[in-house]
């Protein structure tokens, strides 16, 4: 296994070199995040043309990097993630900070084995960390590992959600999908890093600082040997309790009846429905923008040709209209991309967060069940012990030890359950505030993008209008 791990690590190291060299080819900036490349609008098409990923070569690498900084350039600087700009001024002041960026997606491997790796750059002044800056290479399954570890250890906390696996194989290596995932992963780690409890996690440190080989070892060890059986065990237990519940004629598995909690559950389930619907519409809106862009470009072409039939200066007006249509088509495509990244994706993230809340519901339900069961058995044991005490049986001592153990266990379960409740109560407040802020930003970007689009449209048509006016004046003089 270690040989295998070592092989994988070597491969990754090679990829690091590749990734770095590809970034260096852009004027040698260490992180492409800091660089905003303004490219001619036409290249947008080109980006999308690479969707079915060709065999890996340096150009694709560059494209991938391009994609990431392209998306970056879509976000207006003043409201974009202020990773470097807002964090660095704070660092001299000595305030503790931990900022992570996920960058430079690179495709590695071939065929079914192919995957994307990312550079995870940590900048911090926290003493727990090795140094002010650390760069590691991580792949999606490493993120999954981190997520699962946290979910296991911090029950009751709404663990930041991961972007889902691509459902469609075809899109797995499309530039857009990769960029969306990169952005989501970036949000994921930064949410952990800014969470008061999660950021102290040892697992986060491991994730951010271990070298690639060690990471791979830990991940494959834990996912291979430790994690899966635990999952299975839990599943067996669940099934078992369900079966016994049914066999013993218990009406229902025990559930909390706290009205406030009921309300919360009702809220979350309702919210999920609404958000799913909204997100679906947002996806459609992105699609509609693309379609409108597409049809505008076709329309522009047709109008140009029609203008060619007209000849003379009217033909020129037609040509102007045609080329403006094509220009707007590009703007629309851009706006579609903008919408996808800054509006649809946050909505999708919202849905994911709701999912993670639902996960903690089930954790809470499990903890509650355990707490109830143990309390009940403890009670039985206590009665039993009293009986034995009365009878002055030999077994009293044994039973007492058993009772004490059980009691301790029960108290532990109760404490855990209470921790979950406490955490969830805190988390829900945080969740609401966070979402208000995030949706606020998403709405802002949405509105801003739409306004800009409308402005562009107006400008383009206005310029055609001046041409038309000029033409009708000149033809009027003829």
């Amino acid at each position: 296994m270690s040989a295998l791990g070592g092989g994988g690590g070597a491969l990754r190291n090679a990829s690091t070199a590749l990734a770095i060299s590809s970034t260096e080819s852009f004027a040698g900036t260490p992180s492409c995040h800091t660089k905003r490349v303004r490219r001619p609008p036409g290249s947008f098409y080109w980006l999308h043309a690479v969707t079915p990923a060709p065999p890996l070569d340096t150009t694709t690498l560059k494209q991938l990097v391009f994609v990431s900084d392209y998306a970056e350039s879509m976000i207006p600087p003043e409201i974009g993630p202020p990773k470097s700009s807002s964090q660095s001024p704070r660092s001299p002041s000595g305030a503790p900070f931990l900022s992570i960026s996920v960058t430079d997606p690179v495709k590695l491997g071939n065929g079914v084995q192919a995957y994307i790796s990312y550079r995870v750059i940590t900048k911090t002044n926290l003493p727990e960390f090795q140094g002010p800056e650390k760069i590691v290479i991580r792949r999606y399954s490493d993120f999954v590992w981190l997520h699962d570890k946290l979910a296991d250890k911090y029950k009751g906390i709404f663990i930041p959600p991961l972007p889902e696996k691509s459902a469609v194989e075809k899109f797995r290596f499309s530039a857009e999908f990769i960029e969306m995932r990169r952005q989501a992963l970036d949000i994921f780690v930064n949410r952990i890093a800014s969470h008061p409890e999660l950021k102290q996690s040892e697992d986060l440190k491991t994730f951010l600082e271990e070298d690639e080989e060690a990471m791979e070892r830990i991940r494959s060890f834990e996912t291979g040997i430790f994690k899966k059986p635990a999952d299975l065990l839990q599943m067996f237990k669940d099934v078992q309790t369900k079966v016994t519940d049914v066999v013993l004629g218990k009406e229902k598995p025990v559930e909390e009846t706290d009205p406030e909690y009921e309300k919360l559950k009702h809220y979350i389930f309702g919210l999920e429905d609404h958000l799913t619907e909204t997100q679906k519409q947002a996806v459609r809106l992105v699609k509609r923008h693309r379609e409108l862009g597409q049809s505008l470009s076709e329309f522009g072409k047709a109008i140009k040709l029609l203008g060619a039939c007209e000849g003379d200066s009217l033909g020129k007006v037609f040509a102007e209209l045609g080329s403006k249509s094509e220009l707007l088509s590009i703007k629309l495509q851009k706006e579609a991309h903008n919408l996808l990244m800054n509006f649809e994706e946050p909505l999708k993230d919202y849905v994911r967060c709701v999912q993670s809340i639902k996960d903690s519901f089930s954790h809470r339900a499990n903890a509650f069940r355990l707490h109830c069961e143990l309390t009940e058995t403890t009670k039985l044991k206590e009665i039993n012990l009293e009986k034995l005490n009365l009878m002055r049986s030999d077994k009293t001592r044994e039973a007492e030890i058993e009772y004490r153990e059980l009691k301790a266990e029960s108290e532990e379960a109760t404490r855990r359950f209470e921790t979950i409740i406490k955490r969830m109560n805190e988390e829900i407040v945080r969740f609401q505030e966070q979402k208000t802020a995030e949706m606020g930003l998403a709405f802002h970007l949405f509105a801003k993008g739409q306004a800009k689009l409308a402005n562009d449209i107006a400008d383009a048509w206005r310029s055609v209008l001046t041409k038309i006016e000029a033409y009708s004046l000149s033809s009027g003089h003829d």
């Binding site: 309300k263 919210l271 509609r288 060619a308 007209e310 966070q434 306004a451």
Partner: protein, 585 residues
């Protein structure tokens, strides 16, 4: 159905209205073509012109109200949407309303003054025609008097056609100062007759194409919908005829519009009777070499029709085949180089027009769906707002709910703007469609020319044949001294035929020349009109987009303004939660 339920979550009644109109737009996802065809011609002809001349197009047909019900009539639907004042009639929004209230799409915004200076070419053309009002209204179901073979097929619709002529152009033209108004009832068959008569009498002109008989639609569509569609198509057609400089002044057209009672125009014999007619005459034509073979001069000016002069058809067909395959150069060929070039250009134009019209359709559809989706997203947000408001526990939820509501309102507003823009776009890009229709007329005028040429060619080759025969006979008879009686007689007969044929040829050539002349004039006229139409189309389309976009901006400026407000809210939240929010977003 959704309206009330959702609206109950809000305190203001305007929301409800908005929701309903939104749902309405969903239901009325009507296709481009149907939307186009249901725009009354009078709107497109007059709404951007002089408001005094333009009759309010929706006033004189009762069905229009129902048409607007399913969004088919942009004029009424936009009008109704401009009327509603509710929460949207806020400061930012009102300038748009007032501008549009002045009428016409061209008069809005700041560039309005520029536009008003030169009126639309269409209305200018309409002003040149003798008519100031043509309206088709009051479809009325009638029973066929003659017994119909098909049960249930005995009913038809008649339409009231009301026209008002410019003063001094009335039928008797004795200088009345008052404009004269006429009202006649016509059925669709009468329109067919009119168009047939016009096609016969005005060969070589670009006669605007008549609406289709649309047998299928009459079966498929709802009766009301079909009648309404036909009504508006007829109105549009009559306007086009009226705007034509020659057709508009023709007796046929005038009679059609003015003669009370039954249409006095002779109905052209329909194909079946023509066939019978032809069959009767066929033997005579085939066997009797003489009189029947002669072509009556006044008939050559008409293209050969099925049945009636089968022989001529055969002959002309033979001529066509000879031209095509024989490699024999006909005696008279199309040599108007300018015309040939023009023809080629027109073919090219037709192709581009058809593709442009197709793309326009796609564009309009895309615009419509983006508007719809925008509306749906607004709806989804409205639902979300309602939900959040009801369930709110924390103040942050309430803040978010308020933000969401703002976005929802903006989205719904944007959706409405898209819808209005689309209605206008349809109206303007309809010009493409119309000219594509005119290309049909151009093509038929060109084919008239070709067939006239063919007639001339046939007659010329006939003459040639006859002349050779005369020559032969003369040669033969000259060998016999003193002349051959029967041959001489024959020669006389042939000479007579030649004379008649010569007449016919002269007639045919004149007709051909006439058609050529018509073609030329019409081409020039069409070129000019197309230029004007296209210019106004472009202008309309672009201004529309500009105006709409600027409203868009207004709407969004508000949105942005609010977004900034929202960003402030966000900033305060960010402060409360220290770096957390900033770092994460």
């Amino acid at each position: 159905m959704m309206g009330p339920e959702i609206a109950s979550g809000f305190d203001s009644p305007p929301e409800r209205e908005e929701m309903e109109s939104l749902a309405l737009s969903d239901a009325s996802a009507s296709a481009y073509r149907s939307a186009m065809s249901s725009i009354p011609a009078s709107i497109s002809a007059s709404s951007d012109g002089d408001p005094l001349l333009a009759p309010p197009p929706t006033l004189h047909f009762p069905i229009s109200s129902s048409a607007s019900g399913h969004g088919g009539n942009p004029a009424t639907s936009t009008a109704s949407s401009f009327l509603d004042p509710p929460s949207y009639a806020d400061v930012v929004f009102s300038p748009f309303d007032s501008h549009n209230g002045h009428g016409g799409c061209g008069s809005g915004a700041d560039n309005g003054s520029l536009l008003r200076s030169d009126s639309s070419p269409r209305s200018a053309r309409a002003a040149k025609s003798d008519y100031i009002k043509i309206s088709v209204s009051n479809p009325h179901k009638e029973q066929e008097t003659a017994n119909s073979l098909v049960p249930g097929g005995g009913t038809y619709f008649t339409y009231l056609i009301t026209t008002r002529m410019r003063a001094g152009f009335a039928a008797n033209g004795d200088g009345e100062s008052e404009p004269v108004e006429f009202g006649v009832r016509r059925r669709f068959r009468d329109v067919v007759t009119l168009s047939d008569r016009l096609a016969e009498a005005y060969r070589g002109f670009f006669i605007p194409p008549r609406p289709d008989k649309s047998v299928v639609e009459s079966q498929v569509l709802q009766k009301n919908e079909f009648v309404e569609q036909r009504r508006s198509a007829l109105e549009k057609y009559l306007w086009r005829l009226a705007e034509h400089p020659v057709i508009g002044k023709s007796d046929e057209f005038r009679v059609f519009l003015q003669a009370k009672g039954k249409l006095p125009l002779p109905t052209t014999t329909d194909v079946a009777s023509r066939m019978l007619d032809g069959a009767v005459r066929l033997p005579k034509q085939l066997f009797g070499e003489g009189a029947a073979a002669q072509v009556v001069p006044q008939e050559v000016v008409q293209p050969a029709k099925g049945g009636r002069d089968l022989l001529r058809i055969f002959k002309e067909l033979k001529q066509a085949v000879t031209n095509e395959w024989g490699g024999v150069k006909p005696l008279l060929v199309e040599e108007d180089k300018e015309f040939l070039e023009k023809k080629e250009k027109m073919q090219d134009l037709e192709q581009q027009l058809s593709s442009a019209s197709q793309q326009a359709e796609v564009l309009v559809n895309a615009q419509q769906s983006i508007g719809e989706t925008m509306g749906e997203i607004g709806l989804a947000f409205i639902k979300l707002t309602k939900f959040e408001t009801e369930e709110a526990v924390y103040s942050s939820q309430r803040i978010r709910a308020a933000d969401t509501k703002n976005v929802a309102t903006a989205a719904v507003k944007a959706s409405r703007l898209y819808r209005e823009l689309n209605a206008q776009t349809v109206k303007h890009l309809d010009t493409l469609h119309e000219h594509l229709g005119l290309m049909l007329a151009v093509n038929s005028a060109f084919s008239e020319r070709t067939s006239a040429l063919l007639t001339v060619q046939t007659l010329m080759s006939d003459l040639a044949t006859l002349n050779t025969r005369v020559d032969k006979l003369e040669a033969a008879s000259s060998k016999i001294f003193g002349g051959d009686r029967s041959r001489l007689h024959k020669i006389e007969e042939l000479r007579e035929t030649i004379r008649v044929t010569e007449d016919a040829k002269g007639c045919a050539i004149r007709e051909y020349e006439r058609i050529k002349e018509n073609n030329r004039n019409e081409l020039n006229r069409l070129d000019q009109e197309r230029k004007d139409d296209f210019l106004s189309m472009l202008k309309g389309f672009v201004i529309n987009q500009v105006i709409d976009s600027s409203i868009h901006i207004l709407a969004h400026l508000e949105q942005v303004a609010y977004s900034e407000k929202l960003a402030n809210v966000w900033a305060t939240v960010a402060e409360d939660t220290s770096n957390y929010v900033r770092g994460n977003s």
